[in-house]
Amino acid sequence: MEAEINDTIVAVGTRAGEAAIGIVKLSGSRSIFIADKIFKSKNKKKIKDINTYSMIYGHIVDNEGHLIDEVIVTVMKNPGSYTREDVVEINCHGGIIATTKTMELCIENGARIADPGEFTKRAFLNGRIDLSQAEAVIDLVRSRTEQSLRLAAKNLRGNIKEEINRLRKNLFDIRVKLEARVDFIEEDLEVTPYQEITKEIIKIRAELEELIMNEKKGEIIKNGVKIAIIGKPNVGKSSLLNLLSRKEKAIVTPIPGTTRDAVEEILYVEGIPLILIDTAGIRKTRSTIEKIGVDKSLKHIDEAELILLVLDGNRKLEQIDLQIINKIKGKSIICCINKIDLKQKLEVERIRNYFSEKYIIKISALKGKGIKKLENKIKYVILGKGDIDLEEKIIINSRHKEKLEEVKKSLNRAVEAVENKMSEEFPSYDLKTAFELLGEIIGETAREDILEKIFSQFCIGK
């Protein structure tokens, strides 16, 4: 419910990629408390002990003691803040990883992700902004909410929505059985034995866990956007990789905890971490593309959101090029014709059969030619035509994650309740909670009607 006003909200206050500094903003009565739980200052001072409008330097540290980022924290105590609540701003290093991780820590410690336009809404409700600005706020809430919903729907990977709907339906069916055993105990109903119902709950929990696993794989925040550089030997893949990454060297940072086995380089474009995967290293031990196919490369191709196909402009199109093109069919591809500084022998006409002109870029990795154009093209493909608000997308991801974890907790409680021989109303409540949380992910907030289903399914009326 977004109309609540007493809880503490959190959001990333700068748009991804716009600035070198990313601000995580907390607002609400517990914001100082929450910030103090994740912040360790250099001088051992607590945020709660510093004056309003002052700053404090230190580190954000997660629950296991891992360092997340070096930050400066600003405190504005109520009512001297934008929302007239206690506000804490954590100034992280730019980029998505630090801010996202910090925001997630705030959530783990009791904050809630702010709804679209909620800071402004609070400012208004607390009398910080006057009535004449109301319409602007309303427009903001409405448009941001709609955008957010649209993005949320867009962001649901393929069949996730159906998967969630299916889980919801199963949860609902179990609740019908549980509730029939509560409210219609004297009826002569043929209801499923309680222990059978537990098995069904456990089955749903397993399905949910799988869903969470799959979701994690697809997460943009932790993994960044994967870009695979593909091509036959000696087309200049490594040079391209070096070029793309060297240029950005100053802001390349290792990600703590990231599996580095396959990651060659990380670079930021508009604040989005791009993980460039060079398949060159792999091919050295393999002689043919078929063998690569069964190896990791295929997996990289599969996982990559974008593929940079490198062709040698200095050589004629070969069978192996076509085999590669065939392998990557259906993916997002930018075709890079390399070595344009040399004599051009590649039949570009044939290439146009496979790729639209827009996605064919001529470069010279060695001379650094066409690199700017390639970067812009990468940006264009990743960010879309500019209508995808990346920050929003990330927030939606975090929100989904937060909800799914809560669903899991609810299901755990339901199972525990049954195991502890608690009666039906307890697991039923847990399942209801899970059902509603799943509904929030897919934007379905209508109340379900258990009784309706009981009446249609069972013969009631003793």
């Binding site: 709804d115 809404k121 309303i138 409210d183 105990i185 109303e425 409540y429 109340r447 258990i450 003793k462």
Partner: protein, 623 residues
Amino acid sequence: MKYDIIVAGAGHAGCEAALASAKLGLKTILLTINVDKIALMPCNPSIGGLGKSQLVRELDALGGQMAKTADNTLIQIKVLNRSKGPAVQALRAQIDKKEYEIEMKRILENTQNLTLRQGTINKILVKNSKVFGIETESGLIFRSEAVVITAGTFLRGRIIIGEKDYKAGRMGEYPAMNLTRNLIDLNFNIGRFQTATPPRIDKRTIDFSKTIVQYGDREPLSFSFWDEEKIYENIDCYLTYTNKKTHKIIAQNIEKSPIRSGMVDTHGPRHCPSIDRKVINFPGKKRHPVFIEPEGAHTGEMYLQGLTTSMPAEIQQKIVNSVEGLENARIIRPGYAVEYDYVIPNQLNFTLESKNIENLYFAGQINGTSGYEEAAAQGLIAGINAALKVQGRSHMVLTRDTSYIGVLIDDLLTKDLIEPYRMYTSRAEYRLILRSDNADIRLCGLGNSIGLITDCQYEKVRRKEEKTNKLVSKLQNIILNPDKKNNEILKKIGTSSIDTPLNIYKLLKRPEIRIYDLVDYFIGKRSRYDKGVLEQAETRIKYEGYINRQLAEIKKLGDLERYYLLPNLDYFKIIGLTYEAQEKLTKIKPNTLGQASRIAGVSPADISILMLNLKGRSKKVFN
């Protein structure tokens, strides 16, 4: 003839409304079509049951009458769902119907400020959208500040048995034929529902040896918080089943069933279908239960729960005789269906006052509900609010997070009714905290501030709460050491031993342990604590996690329930709402933001926008 408040109809809603109003010091008149028919139970001879029992307890905690009269006239009592948690347990009592009527009439006649009088309302007198009295069919005019209509099934009541129909409010009673026209003239939307009752048979003609006896509970129980719990001399009920033969008779005669013949085409309650409908809808079911329940201690009439039908009388006889144990049973009165008008309840405020006509209240079956308990609960709320309004005091509204009564009224005002509404525990989303056992703790303070619960009663409840708190913290402070003596006791209780010190509070969370076990061994004699206190403490400790989660959920919703919406709000002028939300909100005209949030088609974003729009504007509500 001038009164403060007129209550029209002396059923369960009317009695509670009139008693509440009179007790609050208002000059009250209770009009009824026939003063021999007070607080009738025209259908099942019982009070309570799942969800309903909670309503009765809440009514009692607010100063209502039903629980006390039930205690005084019951002939069997039992706890339903005893093996489950306290939230879904319920009391149900078989009642001596005649005794109940006599007792309720005696109470009405002995209540100060209350006049009982025979009369049928012809017309509600309204001036400038405000009620000022009523006119009876005999032409008498009664003036009043407020009117509570509790007409039950009497509005254009029509009784159906087989192919015959009669104009009647209940079997053998005159209906109210003119009031509906008057309500339509006053711009009320009227709907029509139907309900039915089974035949009653002669006890002497039942072969009880072929039935299963249904005993009551032999332990101290009471409906009312204010009556001493006692062990009742229960009169038994019996269980038998329909069979193939029964179903064949029904199938052969189905064309004569009013649901097939077209004699009845209105919606009846799905929780209480006729045996005809059960046989049609569930052909795979080999048998349906039939409970044989006494109508009273001094009558041989037996009620056949589960055998509701409005087939022609001769078919009813055949159906009854096909059932095991009832082969020779004689029907004393046949079952019948009754069809009646109701006022679509989304035209009411949470106080049950009409949104359009000031000081006019509606309560009970006329609002589309089913059941004595649902009626009584509404009667009390309407009576209290009518009285408060006349006294110039602020209204009393119960919300979903405080009570089943709140759930009942909110559902009536917000949902589209498709059938007569019956309470169930599953309707109350916060049922783990809205329990029968804590209705006094939840509501007595309110009852006391209204004036229907005495200071002395309230003090008793406060003491119970205090003692519970003390006991809970005491249990936290008693620490058991993992010594031999303690572990032997634990073994005796039937739980595993401990190897580190553990407080009793935590020990009590083990599912197999009851508070009584621990009190005996570790805290001192059980007798030092009331049963009520022990059980409150146990529930609070054992279900702490669940209770806290529900409390957190309520807190999360924050002030939505206290955020009032003006009745004349033009939703089409509010920028940012979706068209669907504008339409729905205009139709329902919710009293509060909380209610608005529960309307299908109104999204959280709409609620946000409403909240922003209404910021800083008037919070006064209900005319």
